[in-house]
């Protein structure tokens, strides 16, 4: 598959000023963005909307997430605007919006899409405006709140239910613009994508390469059928309100593939944020996720779960390396993205442990 890694969310809040380009241009840039978003909403049937940017939820290499107020017909509607940087190609915003809407109407908690475009006036980059749902998404805040409220198992179950609903959608209903893994050889296809990403990185990463070649030699069972996969379903992209799942965010990596990818990705050690004893996102036990997924008619394939854990660990190692490479190449001056380069060994360490758990310390 071709969807490249490096969705560069830091998962932390950021000042609105950091969302723009140079500090001197911030005020002008902000006004231009507000006008462009108002025009976008007008094109989607809003009556004389006025947009005010009130803050930023997160800023990554790939997109910034801004909090906005929309004033229209004497009402002020709080919403969220997501602006892509265009540094890394992702699903077109209009296709992403169609997936969100399909998921939402199928019972997956997701925001309502208010407007979307593949080329926002001014920047020419993809943008979408969605409803602002209640809750927390910053990982450490989410994990603290869930731990205090004691809702970790329930939240893990809600994740299992949401994924079962997403994966239960007839794949024929998926928007045609979605990437699809090769149905006959999805695992080889995925490995080709990882290898191509490694080839594009300026520095050699033999540990990840070793992992990719191991993955290629050890494919799991095929899924009964391919499904829509969110592909970024993890702590940080889950909005949690009062300890419960409020909305699934950030659908830009959605594609058609193996449903077990979503369950495995949620359980990577890197998304546990130090709560290593709670494999589901650092907040819940694995059996709660699995039980709810199977109760929702999802089919759990253990071999694929473990394969995708290793595959997505390799993918995120590539993503972090790509963020550091973007800094080195001068595409960003973010210290957060620069620091990502020093996190690569964490993912490499996880990758080696996952491989050795499968094969023993000598196995490859």
């Amino acid at each position: 598959m071709s969807a490249p890694p490096g969705s560069g969310r830091s998962g932390e809040p950021t000042d609105p000023a950091a969302a723009g380009a140079g500090a001197d241009d911030d005020a002008g840039l902000q006004r231009a963005t507000e006008r462009a978003l108002a025009d976008l909403l007008t094109a989607h049937g809003w009556h004389d909307p006025v947009v005010a940017i009130t803050g930023a939820a997160s800023v990554g290499a790939q997109r910034s997430t801004l909090l906005i107020d929309i004033e229209s017909e004497d009402e002020i509607i709080p919403a969220v605007a997501q602006l892509s940087s265009g540094i890394i190609a992702a699903v077109p915003a209009t296709v992403e919006s169609a997936v969100i809407e399909l998921a939402r109407t199928s019972g997956v908690p997701a925001p309502l899409v208010l407007a979307a475009t593949d080329a926002l006036a001014g920047t020419g980059q993809p943008a979408q405006v969605v409803s602002r749902e209640p809750g927390l998404s910053i990982p450490r805040q989410v994990l603290r709140s869930v731990s205090e409220l004691g809702t970790g198992a329930e939240l893990a179950g809600e994740c299992g239910t949401a994924l079962a609903r997403l994966h239960g959608i007839a794949v024929g209903a998926a928007p045609p613009g979605l990437d699809r893994l090769d149905e006959g050889d999805p695992f080889g296809d995925y490995c080709d994508g990882l290898a191509a990403t490694l080839d594009d990185l300026p520095l050699p990463h033999p540990t990840i390469r070793l992992g990719v070649e191991w993955l290629r030699r050890n494919p799991p069972s095929l899924p009964q059928r391919q499904t829509i996969v969110h592909a970024d379903f993890r702590t940080g992209n889950l909005l949690v309100d009062d300890g419960r799942l409020s909305a699934v965010l950030d659908w830009e990596l959605a594609h058609v593939g193996d449903p077990m990818e979503d369950l495995a990705y949620l359980c990577l050690r890197t998304w546990r944020f130090g709560n290593d004893e709670l494999p589901v996102g650092g907040f819940g036990p694995l059996d709660a996720l699995r039980w709810a997924y199977e109760a929702g008619n999802g089919t759990w394939r253990e071999d694929a779960f473990r394969w995708w854990m290793a595959a997505r660990t390799a993918w995120w190692a590539c993503g972090l390396a790509a963020q550091a490479a973007a800094f080195t190449a001068g595409l960003t001056d973010s210290i957060v993205l620069a620091a990502s380069g020093r996190r690569v060994p964490e993912l490499e360490y996880d990758l080696l442990n996952l491989i050795e758990t499968e094969t023993g310390p000598e196995g490859t």
Partner: protein, 125 residues
Amino acid sequence: MGDEPSAEALLLAMAATVADQVVPATSGGAAHAARVVANLCRILAREVVDPGDDVAVDLRVLLGADGRGDTERFEGVDTTGLLAALDDRLRDGDAEFAMEALPLVRRDVERRLAISRPSYLDDRP
């Protein structure tokens, strides 16, 4: 020898200053960036004190011992060049070679992790 304080002492003092004074005085993205800076200072402090054992010598042996090249071919090649050569060899998908490379690869990952986040090494799933 340079002047006092040492690079390590300065980096640790910088980390403490940023973490104890700048982080509490800021919020949002600036506070997050400051926390990241403090952590990078601690990483660099560990790196200047003990960067760990370079794997270049063992890489030359590994790459030269497979009958496809000779050890001399890798004389004078720096660690990055050797890692690129290792990457090339692993790309062939030779399972036996990957098995031979695994201990060395793990040692280098653990060396870098001991610098960037030593606490991560304690847990082996």
